[in-house]
């Protein structure tokens, strides 16, 4: 039985889900499970059912007041992440979209570089950016990635037209071996924010390109040939940049 078919076995799925929720799947096995869940709604549902069933165990767990500094730290991190300079930057992208793809890429990367060290506490700084273009080299999407909270934010400069039974899906293309791995289905929204899992953040660190394709509803295990946007994933750190 092939690996993917093996994981369709309901008994195995339930055993994996119960061990994942109980916390006994550790290390690479846990990361493998998280990767499997990305593309398997049935497995995700089994995990949610186990989470629900075991939740009652916390009924008798005594409350413990957090430190006073914890809420302050949370609010500082949030307000740092919503720095108005970043918001202005993104608004300006609407104007720059009429420029050539190369000019926009340079403008954005430079803007991020100028902004990052002065306007932002280190915990909320952007770590990666990808300006993604369509087949006419026109910028259509901008992805920024922040290690704090492992947040991926995607701004759509132009929304692709989809049929009802289609979804957009985001992919990472490895700079090491060229392998293509799903980062999940995304909604067609002006702005999307999602938190990445640890394995997904690993894919970002390893990525040469990010790419968005049109897939059947629910997504696919490999991208179709309908690529709507693709761009280099550039690491941004302090005043230096390097790819991937």
């Amino acid at each position: 039985m092939s690996g993917s078919l093996r994981y369709q076995n309901p008994e195995l799925q339930d055993r994996l889900a119960s061990n994942y929720v109980a916390g006994t799947l550790r290390g690479p096995a846990r990361r493998r499970m998280e990767t499997l869940m990305l593309d398997d709604s049935g497995l995700r549902n089994r995990v949610r059912q186990w989470e629900h069933k075991l939740q009652s165990l916390h009924h008798y767990t005594p409350e413990l007041s957090p430190k006073k500094s914890t809420l302050n730290n949370i609010l500082s991190a949030i307000n740092g992440a919503a720095d108005p300079m970043l918001e202005n930057l993104k608004k300006k992208l609407g104007f720059y979209r009429w420029f050539s793809g190369l000019a926009l890429t340079c403008a954005l990367v430079l803007a991020v570089l100028v902004w990052a060290p002065v306007g932002q506490p280190p915990s909320a700084a952007i770590n990666y950016v990808a300006v993604m273009k369509d087949s006419n080299a026109q910028p259509t999407m901008v992805v920024t990635l922040t290690q704090t909270g492992r947040v991926l934010a995607l701004d759509m400069l132009a929304k692709p037209k989809l049929q009802n039974d289609q979804n957009l899906q985001l992919w990472a293309i490895s700079k090491v071996d060229g392998s293509i791995t799903s980062l999940g289905v995304i909604d067609v929204e002006k702005r999307i924010e999602k938190s990445l899992t640890k394995p997904q953040w690993g894919l970002i660190k390893d990525a040469e390109y990010l790419m968005v394709s049109v897939e059947a509803a629910g997504g696919a295990s490999m991208p179709s040939n309908r690529i709507v946007s693709k761009g280099l994933c550039v690491k941004v750190e302090g005043w230096k940049t390097e790819t991937g």
């Binding site: 339930d14 916390g23 006994t24 949610r48 767990t61 991190a77 947040v151």
Partner: protein, 200 residues
């Protein structure tokens, strides 16, 4: 296990009104309402911190995990769907998985484990204040706790050590001085019987 939505049968301890309130706060947080985040924090942070403390047994680390979890809630609130699970279950899961990540990276884990007396209560007398006493009281109306009491003691303890106290299978094996394969069997048998009892 059925394919029904988990939220069809909410845990006994969470009233529908409380869940509704948490859901409304999450909806406001999805719209970047910081006041809603602070209200949510006031309602659930102490409980979540208590859960993290059981797993990590370290006040600094439990506060770190709580902080990371609230940042995740801030960023992911828009993804929350009530039909997929109750709000408290969703937030607890975010917290537990963060705590498990923290445990994996903590090389001092075993040292702390050796000093962890509460777990020992699973194998003997429990003090009245212990959450274990609550879980195992005979007249409980919580279905999960009723089912836990039907399990073989070693199977039940293995599940509680893993889920509630964050023990890995290796930790459990060391603690009970049994081979790891024995622990794996306890967990497998215990979780299977638990699922049957809960009507999966």
């Amino acid at each position: 296990m059925t394919n029904g939505d988990p939220a069809d049968n909410p845990p006994a301890e969470q009233s529908a009104e409380e869940a509704d309130r948490l859901e409304q706060l999450l909806a406001r947080i999805a719209l970047r309402d910081q006041a809603a985040l602070q209200q949510l924090y006031g309602l659930v942070a102490a409980k979540l911190n208590g859960i993290a403390m059981k797993l990590l047994n370290d006040a600094d680390q439990s506060n770190d995990v709580l902080q990371e979890t609230f940042l995740q809630i801030w960023h992911k609130a828009g993804e929350y769907r009530r039909h997929q699970g109750e709000p408290m279950t969703w937030m607890t899961s975010l917290l537990r998985y963060r705590a498990l990540d923290k445990l994996r990276s903590d090389k001092r884990e075993q040292k702390r484990r050796d000093q962890y007396g509460e777990v020992q209560e699973l194998f003997g007398e429990t003090s009245a204040e212990s959450p274990i006493a609550g879980m195992l009281q005979k007249d409980t109306d919580i279905k999960l706790n009723q089912c836990l009491q039907t399990l073989d003691t070693l199977n039940r303890n293995a599940i509680l050590m893993a889920y509630y106290y964050g023990y890995s299978r290796e930790d459990i094996a060391i603690h009970v001085e049994q081979p790891i394969n024995t622990v794996k069997s306890w967990l497998k048998r215990g979780l299977t019987r638990l699922a049957q009892c809960l009507g999966h």
